[in-house]
């Protein structure tokens, strides 16, 4: 399996979050609160689930997702999932 660099994962996530939720990439910082900055409502989570599946081919589950607060949490979660950790 090809190893994906953490920085590439971060970059890819930032690009699709910025496009999908129409926020400037500069607003997306590792310690920023993801829900607040992206202004996520419940239906936005549908978008999030779909874009993650489309971009990384992984399914999110609610237990994991409830622990994600910051963008860094999100990067780590996605990175761990695609690395099979």
């Amino acid at each position: 399996m090809l190893e994906v660099k953490y920085t590439d994962v971060v970059e890819k996530i930032n690009v699709f979050l910025s496009e999908e939720f129409e926020v400037d990439k500069s607003q997306i910082t590792a310690d920023g609160n993801m829900k607040e900055i992206l202004d996520l409502d419940s239906l936005d989570y549908v978008d999030l689930v779909v874009v993650i599946e489309n971009n990384f081919g992984i399914k999110l589950n609610s237990e994991d997702f409830s622990r994600i607060q910051t963008f860094e949490d999100f990067y780590n979660y996605i990175n761990n999932r695609i690395s099979g950790k």
């Binding site: 409502d41 419940s42 239906l43 989570y45 549908v46 978008d47 689930v49 779909v50 399914k59 999110l60 589950n61 609610s62 237990e63 997702f65 409830s66």
Partner: protein
């Protein structure tokens, strides 16, 4: 602006158990007669429900004063009958209930395609009957319910529905339902949800409905659109004491916008309501008049 539904269904478990007891002891036909007395009680002593349903008949449907009053009473009788019928079917009690299915083949096709989908209904007629009869369709159905609906009724329903074909997804604050819905759809399963009620704080769409602006939940339409799965509108209404008519339109995948599906839904619902006005079972201030 319309008032939101408070997130609790009418009826207590004791009431449901009472219906079940009644059917078993005095039989279906006698229970129907007894219901007429119960309906009269609610007609006389349930002023809040009376006000909202009177507004619906008198102002929205423009019924005469006398026709509005008789329709309210009949509406209560129909409502009671739908509850009774639900228990007759679920409990497997012998009955004479028959069904017609307009568009049943659409559901078979949706199941056969295996892409999952949304069936959007309303509190018109007896959707639970429709859900139960979907045993004929080879797919797994997920019925969306609000978390704050009465726990006891959820338990009762859980016990009585066949777990292998019908699953309940509860709409929760932690948004776990979003993930459950997505997974169900990805597994080719069908999501059954009402498109006419919402809880405070949820995103809504507005539309002219029976001549006045009303709000509806955006969620069902947004989810079907975002997940790019087929969506159809289904209704199960009573034609008479023993006969139900099930309607489903042709499922389609929305390509324009969630609002487009929503507008089609409102048109379909309004047509159905005008055909079956006495089976509208939303006893709250739907239009916020």
């Amino acid at each position: 602006m319309s008032e939101s539904w408070k997130g609790r269904s009418k009826g207590r478990l004791s009431g449901y158990q009472f219906f079940a007891f009644l059917i078993k002891k005095i039989g279906v036909r006698s229970a129907y007669y007894f219901l007429k007395v119960v309906a009269l009680y609610y007609f006389l002593f349930s002023p809040k429900a009376f006000r909202t349903i009177h507004y619906y008949f008198r102002e929205r449907l423009q019924f005469s004063k006398l026709k509005s009053l008789s329709s309210i009473y009949q509406n209560y009788v129909w409502f009671g009958q739908t509850l009774l019928d639900k228990f007759i079917i679920i409990a497997g009690i012998q009955n004479k209930i028959t069904f017609d299915f307009d568009g049943e083949h659409h559901l078979h096709q949706m199941a056969k395609d295996g892409n999952g989908g949304f069936m959007i209904s309303a509190h018109l007629g007896n959707w639970e009957i429709a859900g139960f009869l979907l045993k004929r369709v080879e797919s797994r159905f997920n019925i969306l319910m609000y978390e704050n609906e009465r726990e006891e009724i959820k338990e009762y329903l859980n016990k009585n529905y066949q777990q292998d074909q019908v699953n309940f997804i509860f709409i929760k604050q932690d948004l776990s339902h979003i993930f459950e819905i997505n997974n169900a759809v990805k597994n080719g399963e069908i999501i059954c949800v009402h498109g006419d009620r919402f809880i405070p704080g949820s995103k809504t769409f507005k539309a002219d409905f029976l001549g006045k602006e009303a709000r509806f939940p955006a969620g069902p339409f947004e989810m079907a659109y975002k997940l790019k799965v087929p969506c159809c509108f289904v209704f199960a209404v009573k034609e008479n004491d023993d006969h139900y008519h099930f309607f489903s339109n042709t499922p389609s995948i929305e390509t324009q916008s969630a609002e487009h599906t929503f507008n089609r839904y409102v048109d379909t619902l309004e047509n159905m309501v005008r055909r079956y006005p006495k089976q509208w079972f939303n006893y709250y201030d739907f239009w916020g008049h």
